[in-house]
């Protein structure tokens, strides 16, 4: 168990900067998710910790040890790969026992410890089989067992659930979180699935184009997205982002298609309000909009597009000008709505972003 520290780490592949001056501290025993779209540098960051890539600049520390230029074997971390990487020519017993074997643990001791871990992970009956004889979920557990079997200082997960089908993924997600809670080992988890990151992590690191966009607990990044990228990436369905112009004097927001939203006290309460006439983006979560069949004060008109019943909740898409706005209703019964509806955003819960995408508050 150790803290992992990145100090101004840069990693380039040719002219592409995969990790761009990243500074980050992952606390001892913490579960951190690296979240972002493909090509954002999250996997490269993980591989830098593992030693599978070497940093071009900066320092990486595990505990107090500078591991920047150490080979993977010297870092004493354990990694679970997206394709599980179970050696096809070895039995599951030998696969799980491999980290012990290279550390010179005797055959008998190896068998004892592998059996112990396998029993905890409910794969003890599969030890004599080859990886190809296991189902996807079993292979996933076997690869986790291989990471757990020796007392590594940190666990690294590279999208370990993306090859499982949806139902198994939820099951494995709960299992991984429970395991990490029990073992309390520092864990870095790479994923492009925001729901997975929200569900698993103590803290989420949102990345884009090699840079960290925001770091925070799942609720922090959900409640206070620091920029439009995080706002659009976290949450399902994503936040409605409306671009337009701030008319600070009149307390209004004029959308690109001339729809006017009365902003009330929003600008006045901001310590760093936009300038009059500045291009801004207004962000409102789908659950912070109410929908009305009749004209309503401070509501904007729109055309009903579709109603999507989701079971426990209902999503309503409304066309406002050229923009499709999503409204989330916490009701299972789809509402009966006319074609012409009025949307009333809860402006207290809205976010104002500047032209550069950074939040103004």
């Amino acid at each position: 168990m150790s803290q992992i520290t990145f100090e101004n780490v840069v990693k380039r592949f040719g002219s592409v900067v995969a990790v761009d001056n990243v500074t980050l501290t992952i606390g001892e025993g913490e579960f951190v998710a690296l979240l972002g779209p493909s090509g954002c540098g999250k996997t490269t960051t993980l591989r830098l910790i593992a030693g599978l890539e070497l940093a071009d600049q900066g320092r990486i520390l595990i505990g107090d040890r500078d591991v920047t230029y150490l080979p993977p074997a010297a870092r004493d971390v354990a990694m679970v790969f997206q394709d599980y990487a179970l050696y096809p020519h070895m039995t599951i017993l030998d696969n799980i026992g491999y980290p012990l074997k290279v550390r010179g643990v005797s055959r008998a001791e190896r068998a004892r410890r592998v059996t112990e871990v396998a029993r905890e992970l409910q794969i003890a009956n599969l030890l004599e089989r080859r990886p190809s004889q296991l189902s996807g979920g079993q292979q996933q557990r076997a690869s986790v067992a291989r990471a757990v079997v020796h007392q590594a200082v940190a666990f690294l997960f590279d999208e370990p659930l993306s090859n499982l089908d949806a139902q198994l993924r939820l099951e494995a997600r709960a299992f991984l979180k429970h395991l990490q809670n029990e073992l309390g080992v520092t864990t870095v988890y790479v994923t492009h699935d925001q729901a997975e990151a929200m569900a698993l992590a103590d803290r989420i690191v949102v990345m884009r184009l090699g840079k960290i966009m925001q770091i925070g607990t799942p609720l922090e990044v959900y409640r206070n997205p620091a920029n439009t990228f995080v706002a659009s990436f976290i949450g399902s369905p994503p936040m409605n982002l409306l671009s337009g112009t701030a008319l600070v004097g009149q307390g209004q927001f004029v959308m690109d298609d001339e729809t006017v939203i009365d902003m009330g006290e929003v600008y006045r309460r901001m310590s760093r309000p936009p300038l009059d006439g500045q291009e801004i983006t207004l962000g409102i979560r789908p659950e912070h909009i109410t929908i009305h069949a009749e004209p309503h004060p401070h509501a904007i008109p729109g055309q009903l597009y579709v109603v999507q019943p989701m079971g426990g909740e209902t999503l309503v898409n409304v066309r406002v000008g050229s923009k499709l706005v999503t409204v989330r209703l916490f009701q299972d019964e789809p509402p009966a709505l006319p074609d012409q509806v009025w949307l009333k955003p809860a402006l207290d819960a809205s976010f104002v972003y500047g032209a550069d995408g950074e939040r103004l508050s």
Binding site: P71, A78, F81, Y87
Partner: protein
């Protein structure tokens, strides 16, 4: 309808005749190799001998020069080339596959092109001079080195396809698990590419086994000559082959190659999971 059927029947019949002729063309020499050694008459007819005899083999085994060529020289040269080509091709292709070398693919293709265009007869004089200056004329080592050099580019090319088909995450998993690079190669990478190593090893062995030109140029003394040259000891002084003895010797000549194939296939199995990309 009827005409159509006649046409397809005719074309199928023609195809069958063609296939039969083609198979006969390739099968007859092999059948001859199975029957002629046991026949007492020297001719080129494929005929099961009425009174099979092993007299031809006795005569062949009395020819000490030919037997040493086959069971000593050929095994040393073939074995040497096999081991050297397989091990160097494995390591080289692994390195080429796993490192980021600029212009890597171009380099490999140029090597292949050069080895197939330039080698052989055209390179014989420089190769002879090279081996002469190294003092390796009339040694097994000289022959083994030259043949290895000739086979390596293609060997690397074949091997690289096998290595490329192995996902790197196996190796990375071993490295992160705590293995050194060498340990990882031994425990994980090599077992995974072993089918490819076997293919290249057998291919190299068969090539060396049948080689004629290089040993005939680089070797001097009769006791070093391989079997392909020893065939000439079954020719009369006038240059006509003694067909019964040549066939018996040829029969023996094919056995080690077949055996090697069977043993490797039985022991390791030619699982072509590399080589062909899905």
């Amino acid at each position: 309808m009827n005409r159509y059927r006649i046409r397809t029947t005719t074309s199928r019949a023609l195809l069958l005749v063609f296939a039969f002729i083609m198979s006969a063309f390739f099968a007859l020499p092999l059948l001859w190799l199975l029957t002629a050694p046991f026949s007492t008459q020297a001719n080129l007819a494929v005929k099961i001998p009425e009174t099979p005899s092993l007299a031809n083999f006795e005569a062949v085994f009395r020819n000490k020069f030919a037997i040493r060529a086959l069971f000593q020289n050929n095994l040393i040269i073939g074995g040497g080339v096999m081991v050297l080509v397989a091990s160097v091709a494995t390591l080289a292709s692994y390195g080429l596959s796993r490192t980021r070398v600029p212009g890597r693919d171009v380099l490999v293709y140029i090597l292949i092109l050069f080895s197939s265009v330039v080698s052989g007869t055209a390179a014989m004089v420089p190769l002879f001079l090279l081996i002469f200056n190294l003092g390796l004329i009339d040694t097994y080592l000289g022959v083994i080195l030259v043949m290895t050099g000739g086979l390596l580019p293609s060997g690397i090319f074949i091997m690289r396809d096998f290595v490329d088909s192995i996902p790197r995450s196996y190796e990375e998993a071993a490295l992160v698990a705590g293995a050194s690079s060498f340990r990882m190669f031994r425990d994980v990478a090599f077992p995974l590419v072993r089918p490819g190593v076997m293919v290249v090893a057998i291919w190299a062995f068969v090539n060396a086994w049948g080689a004629f030109l290089i040993p005939s140029v680089l070797l001097r003394s009769p006791e070093h000559m391989p079997a392909s040259i020893a065939f000439y000891s079954f020719y009369t002084e006038a240059g006509t082959p003694n067909l019964t003895l040549v066939s018996a010797y040829a029969f023996l000549y094919t056995i080690p190659v077949l055996l090697l194939y069977l043993i490797v296939n039985w022991r390791f199995g030619f699982r072509f999971f590399g080589g062909i990309k899905s």
